[in-house]
């Protein structure tokens, strides 16, 4: 089963979290639906949860309120999806991890280091030609850092997508109406 998690609005992005039946097929079903109904999903994360029965999938949706409602309706129809919740900045905490590999150039090394320090990015690999930084934080922070690094040579970026969890004691599985 999928626990669908979070819709969270950031700019025009909405994060939706869901609890799902635990199987690879489940994420397949979800992404297949996004594709065939042309919902624009910009990030998706799937993970194990506190329960052996459920996995948790969080994704962000680029679209308007109307589209979000249509997407919610479609999600509710999937038998694998047990619970859906829209997560907002107000009701939830989110973060993402990013690994970014930059060209290690003597001319720009200093500037990259200063920026990394300001963003609390950790250097996890250092070679003659490249630097790998690790950033943790919300997606906006990642976007900002990438845009700042645009002046230098970015070799590779890997982002995990957003993980979100609701504030307070409420849990996603409580929404299950099975």
């Amino acid at each position: 089963m999928i626990l669908l998690q979070n819709w969270r609005c950031r700019n025009e992005q909405i994060y939706i979290s869901s609890a799902c039946e635990k199987s690879v097929r489940c994420s397949n079903r979800l992404t297949s639906m996004f594709r065939r109904r042309q919902f624009n999903i910009s990030s998706i994360t799937a993970s194990e949860t506190e329960s052996a029965e459920y996995s948790r999938i969080t994704f962000s949706f680029d679209g308007e309120e109307e589209g979000k409602q249509l997407l919610m309706n479609q999600l509710y129809k999937l038998p694998d999806v047990c619970s859906i919740k829209e997560l907002t900045n107000e009701n939830s905490l989110s973060c993402e991890l990013m690994l970014i590999k930059l060209k290690n150039d003597p001319d720009t090394r200093e500037e990259i280091h200063s920026a990394a320090e300001a963003f609390k990015a950790e250097t996890i690999d250092y070679s003659k030609d490249s630097i790998v930084l690790r950033l943790i934080g919300n997606s906006r922070k990642m976007d900002d850092f990438i845009s700042l690094m645009g002046d230098f040579t970015i070799l590779e970026i890997c982002r995990t997508g957003t993980a979100s969890i609701e504030k307070g004691s409420s849990v996603l599985r409580k929404n299950l109406n099975l």
Binding site: R25, S32, R36, L70, N73, Y76, P79
Partner: protein, 557 residues
């Protein structure tokens, strides 16, 4: 008791009240067929000529009975042959369970002989599907599939059963047939909102679809129409829900809908829509569709609300239960001015009816009407003949019309007509075109073998009529690949397959042929010759609105 997976599968089907299944055996489903052999006194298996025919037969059976239709096939090509049948059922929300064999679990993923990832293939065209990895899960998976297939908005469910799961043994405990999930009415606040809008309506129009049949709510709908004095129209899928001759019924709506029905909907100020999904074939240009109307939309599937047209009031819930709650909140009223206008549309419609002499498509259907009993199921294929049927058939009983509405599957009809004959226990009728019939005519072998009484009427114009109609109207009469130029002798074909048939060219000949066909024990084929330039009218051009309606057409040579 300790049973093999194959026995569990068959026993669970029987336990779920399934008495007739359609299918085709093959290597990876042999164990199930062995079990069907053992249980042949409890479950009847109909062997078709092609898996597609079996899927359509299960669909026709489901449409006419309201029960879950079951189809069985082997792995690989057997399973992929089901795909069109499953998709047809999916688009029309028909409850179906498809069981496929597959290669043993140890071989899955190795591209074995006749291995296909059928759960992957059918993922977007099933309500849900299952791959059964161990025999212990089999019985409950089948039960769950039946619940899903018939609950809420029905649909097809596929179960993929690898061969080793069919062979493995485990304890089987019989259970009682599963019930569908308890239907729920829409929220009270929404029903109150809807009542308020309906009570202030001046020109209300009721528009229903297949959901009304699924919810078994025609009576409630008629009470609604009577109470608020509203004309009634329907989508293709709604046909047969109420008798065609019901005084308030204007017939089908949409691209080839009846004139009065479409005009009334266009001029309504409130459209009460019940179990419909506002397909593009119904709305035409959505910007111009029923612009002046407030739409109230009741549907069991919440995802249909505001999907294609915006409803001022969307009610997610069972149509029957929702109507039952709504009815007492409505004021009884007479809307004589509106009804007079509707009558004027009806009068105008009379002018557009095709009353020519000779064997016109309309005359063919009207002739057939005389032979239809209360319980006769009529199935169609897809194309012009389907629209002529929808416009002119005289429906008497709910669930006695089966046609591929959403997917528009040419070749659907013959399988469906066989399934419908089993579903109703009576003679069924297939109205088809020479194009559609060509797609699955092999099922005549099935009808002959089981002596299924199916009256087949081929509306034969020698062309792909609907394609030709579009080419005439929108493609400068470039009849690209729509002229069949076949030399098929249909009566001879019927005879070769062990049936009988004849060709007719006049209404009188058709009448005689029908007399014979309706007294024939098995299938009978009537090759009904019509002109190649017959048109389905009225027509709303694709993407057009009521302003663009074509009601009469002179075809220039």
């Amino acid at each position: 008791m300790l049973l093999s997976g194959a026995d569990i599968l068959v026993k669970t089907l029987i336990e779920q009240g399934c008495d007739t299944v359609f299918g085709y055996p093959g290597g990876q489903i042999l164990n199930v067929y062995d079990s069907l052999y053992t249980h042949q006194s409890e479950i009847n298996h109909i062997l078709t000529a092609h898996e597609q025919g079996a899927a359509h037969a299960a669909d026709g059976y489901a449409r006419t009975t309201g029960k879950v239709g079951v189809v069985i096939s082997t792995s690989g090509p057997g399973a992929t042959n089901l795909v069109t049948g499953i998709a047809t059922a999916y688009l029309d929300s028909i409850p179906m369970v498809a069981v496929c064999g597959n290669v043993p679990t140890t071989q899955i993923g190795s591209d074995s002989f006749q291995e296909i990832d059928i759960t992957g293939v059918t993922l977007p065209i099933t309500k849900h599907n299952y791959f059964v990895g161990k025999v212990e899960d089999l019985a409950d998976t089948i039960r769950e599939a039946f619940v899903l297939a018939k609950s809420g908005r029905p649909g097809p469910v596929l179960i993929d059963v690898p061969k080793d799961v069919q062979i493995a043994k485990c304890e089987y405990e019989p259970k009682s047939p599963v019930e569908k999930e308890e239907p729920q009415p829409a929220k009270n606040t929404r029903i109150e909102e809807a009542a308020e809008i309906i009570n202030s309506a001046i020109r209300p129009f009721i528009y229903f679809g297949g959901g009304l049949i699924t919810a078994d709510a025609p009576e409630e709908m008629l009470s609604l129409a009577e109470k608020i004095d509203a004309p009634i129209g329907c989508s293709l899928m709604g046909l047969s829900a109420i008798p065609t001759n019901h005084p308030g019924f204007l017939g089908m709506q949409g691209m080839h809908g009846r004139f009065a029905s479409s005009m009334s909907m266009h001029n309504a100020d409130v459209i009460i829509s019940l179990g419909v999904r506002f397909n593009d074939r119904v709305t035409g240009n959505r910007q111009k569709f029923a612009k002046g109307a407030k739409i109230i939309h009741i549907d069991v599937d919440g995802s249909e609300l505001n999907k294609t047209v915006n409803a001022v009031c969307g009610l997610r819930g069972d149509v029957k239960l929702t109507l039952q709650k709504l009815l007492p909140m409505l004021d009884e009223s007479k809307k004589s001015e509106w009804m007079a206008k509707v009558d004027a549309f009806r009068q105008e419609e009379e002018n557009y009816l095709d009353n020519r002499d000779g064997l016109t498509p309309r005359r063919a259907i009207l002739t057939l009407n005389k032979y239809l009993g209360e319980n006769t199921a009529v199935c169609t294929d897809v194309g012009q003949h389907q629209m002529w049927s929808a416009q002119n058939l005289n429906f008497k009983t709910s669930r006695r019309f089966a046609s591929s509405g959403g997917l528009g599957t040419m070749g659907y009809g013959f399988g469906a007509a066989i399934g419908a004959a089993y579903g109703t226990g009576e003679r069924s009728v297939l109205i088809t075109g020479d194009g559609s019939f060509g797609m699955n005519l092999n099922e005549l072998a099935t009808a002959v073998r089981y002596n299924v009484p199916v009256v087949v009427i081929i509306i034969n114009n020698g062309v792909l009529g609907m394609v030709r109609q579009w080419q005439t109207l929108f493609y400068d009469k470039h009849y690209s690949n729509s002229v069949l130029e076949r030399k098929t002798d249909f009566p001879a074909f019927a005879k070769a397959f062990g049936a009988d048939g004849e060709t007719v060219t006049t209404p009188e000949e058709l009448d005689e042929a029908l007399k014979k066909a309706f007294n024939c024990e098995g299938p009978y084929i009537i090759d009904c010759k019509i002109d190649k330039d017959e048109f389905v009218l009225p027509m709303l051009p694709p993407g057009g609105s009521m302003d663009d309606i074509i009601t009469k057409l002179e075809v220039q040579e």
